[in-house]
């Protein structure tokens, strides 16, 4: 039996349990639902740059885990990335590539390019063969111009003038296909993106709450968090929700003062080599 040298584990996803998980699934054991961003994310290219949009609902199976989460992630000052799929995966992969881009900026002394982020993302996702469930819409403006790409969990990419991803992508795509044209102005672009996200919010169960928009142009990026709030809370009590002291019956009271166990000593010996 040949024993190979034990290389230290490099961290990241471990495929060890995949066969056992598959066996459990075959036996009928359900996986606990992990938090996904069943989502609507969109991007489009307009005359001066790109506009990205996303809804803000994060779901855990049938439950809304977060009513106002951020799905538009920072990659570089001129590049942003919307993420759909498993929330942990999209966060982790965009954070990782964002750090790699920053190191690359220090090494090259130049502004990051969208294709760099794209290549880093696609090679990472391909090497995990689709197990990192992150479907992304990557957009930005660099020296070569505005770019918009979609990245699928298996590592394939597409370059498009307008793109949608996530469970609400069909609803959003219908809006884009009817109304998109080349050479949109900034206002038209933002309005179209907001309309597409709203289509996803109202017609897809996995998307909801508010609309986030991010406009990237040469030299300037505007992150419009909660650009639209089409789902306000209705039926708010006019009396408010404050609870006055005395409304709750106190059964017993016990007060334990916290004693300090740490003593601080002034002065002391200097550290020696």
């Amino acid at each position: 039996m040949v024993k190979m040298t034990d290389l230290p584990t490099k961290g990241g996803f471990s495929f060890d349990l995949c066969t056992r998980n598959q066996m459990l699934l075959d036996k009928g054991v359900q996986m606990p639902p992990f938090r996904k961003t069943g989502t609507t994310i969109v991007g489009l290219v307009f005359q001066d740059g790109v506009v990205l949009g996303a809804d803000t609902r994060a779901t855990e199976g049938p439950i809304v885990a977060d009513k106002n989460c951020e799905k538009i992630h920072f990659m570089a000052p001129n590049i942003y990335c919307c993420g759909a799929g498993t929330a942990a995966d999209t966060e982790a992969v965009t954070d990782m590539v964002s750090s790699q881009l920053q190191l690359h900026r220090y090494a090259t002394g130049r502004e990051s390019r969208v294709v760099t982020a794209l290549t880093l993302l696609k090679s990472h996702l391909f090497s995990y063969q689709g197990h990192v469930s992150a479907a992304l819409v990557l957009g930005g403006v660099d020296v070569t111009g505005p770019h918009l790409h979609t990245v699928y969990p298996h590592g394939s990419t597409d370059t498009l003038p307008f793109a949608t991803m996530g469970s609400g992508s069909l609803a959003a795509m219908s809006v884009f296909e009817s109304k998109y044209r080349e050479g949109l102005t900034r206002e038209e672009g933002i309005e179209l993106v907001a309309e597409a996200i709203c289509a996803g919010i109202f017609n897809d169960l996995g998307s909801g709450s508010n609309v986030d928009v991010c406009v990237i142009t040469k030299g300037q990026t505007e992150y419009l968090r909660n650009y639209q709030l089409p789902n306000p809370r209705t039926y708010i009590s006019s009396k408010g929700y404050s609870f006055v002291k005395g409304q709750t019956e106190v059964l017993s009271t016990k007060i334990t003062p916290i004693q300090s166990k740490v003593q601080t000593v002034e002065g002391g010996d200097a550290m020696e080599e």
Partner: protein, 299 residues
């Protein structure tokens, strides 16, 4: 069984496969690429630093892409790709539809990818797999061109694709057609289907839409066509396949490669011929309804 998988990567040298066969074990092991086998060791190590190949467990994923919607999409190479030679070069053609199950993810994709100035490849099968293969081969060919001092031959390009495809056959779903022009052999078409066979042919078809074209080509193909004839043949064939195959559609893109260089052409949906039972494109069905005004009855 040691399970120290740290990532998936393609194995161009075949080291992993050779050691697997020699030792007769099915255990998963970490491997360092043997220097003597690679074209240029340091370059390989540089590219594959983080990639070590694992055999064995990989769940063969049947769908082409994974999205929230359809995790068990049917196995298919949703595409039509064609490559034909003519007197003076080659014409490569493809449709533009990439599908995820029943949804069209991209209706205007470009499936004809450049490997070098004079060699292009038509991709079918898993988009991720074929994109990665093209990227690797473009990189290897670039180095090869520098080392050789002259443009790479189509045969070398096709063989590099074939090596990657064959040595990773368990993990990849890629059927490609490599076509190009070089000064030694002129225009050449090499077919590299699933499994990693390499076959030089005067013309080749691939993808799910190709099933509908075998008979057509048997009848319509002839040796020594002119450029116009070859181009028309490719466009006609692609539109026929797109009419009958659900997984092909969109627009037709062609690339012509000859001694003068490379020409890309685009044929929009409205320029393609209509076949049996295909309707004229209209902007809105409401036009049809409003245009037919019933004539007043007359005695």
């Amino acid at each position: 069984m040691e399970n120290k998988l740290s990532g998936f990567g393609l194995d161009p040298t075949g080291v992993e496969r050779r050691t697997f066969l020699e030792e007769g074990e099915s255990s998963l092991k970490q491997s360092l690429y043997s220097l003597s086998l690679s074209l240029s060791a340091s370059l390989y190590l540089a590219c594959f630093l983080l990639l070590s190949l694992k055999l064995g467990f990989i769940l063969l994923l049947l769908s082409i892409y994974k999205m929230d919607l359809d995790l068990s999409a049917p196995h298919s190479t949703g595409t039509t790709i064609i490559g034909v030679t003519y007197n003076g070069g080659v014409v490569l053609g493809a449709d533009s539809r990439t599908s995820t199950g029943m949804y069209v993810a991209n209706r205007a994709s470009d499936k004809i990818t450049e490997l070098t100035d004079n060699v292009y490849v038509c991709r079918s099968g898993s988009a991720a797999d074929t994109q990665v293969i093209s990227d690797y081969v473009r990189y290897f060919l670039h180095q090869h061109t520098i080392q050789l001092g002259q443009p790479a031959t189509v045969k070398v390009a096709a063989n590099l694709v074939r090596l990657l495809s064959y040595q990773n056959k368990n993990m990849l779903q890629a059927g490609v057609i490599v076509g190009g022009w070089d000064k030694y052999e002129g225009g050449q078409i090499y077919s590299v289907p699933l499994g990693g066979t390499i076959l030089r042919q005067p013309f080749s078809i691939g993808g799910s839409g190709s099933s509908y074209l075998y008979g057509f080509f048997d009848q319509a193909w002839k040796e020594d066509m002119t450029h116009e004839e070859a181009e028309q043949l490719v466009v006609k064939a692609a539109s026929l396949a797109m009419a009958r195959d659900g997984a092909s559609g969109g627009v037709v893109r062609t690339v012509t490669i000859n001694a003068e260089g490379v020409t890309r052409k685009f044929y929009g949906g409205d320029t393609l011929p209509l076949w049996h039972d295909e309707l004229e494109p209209t902007n809105s069905l409401l036009d049809l309804l409003s245009s037919s005004v019933p004539e007043p009855m007359s005695t």
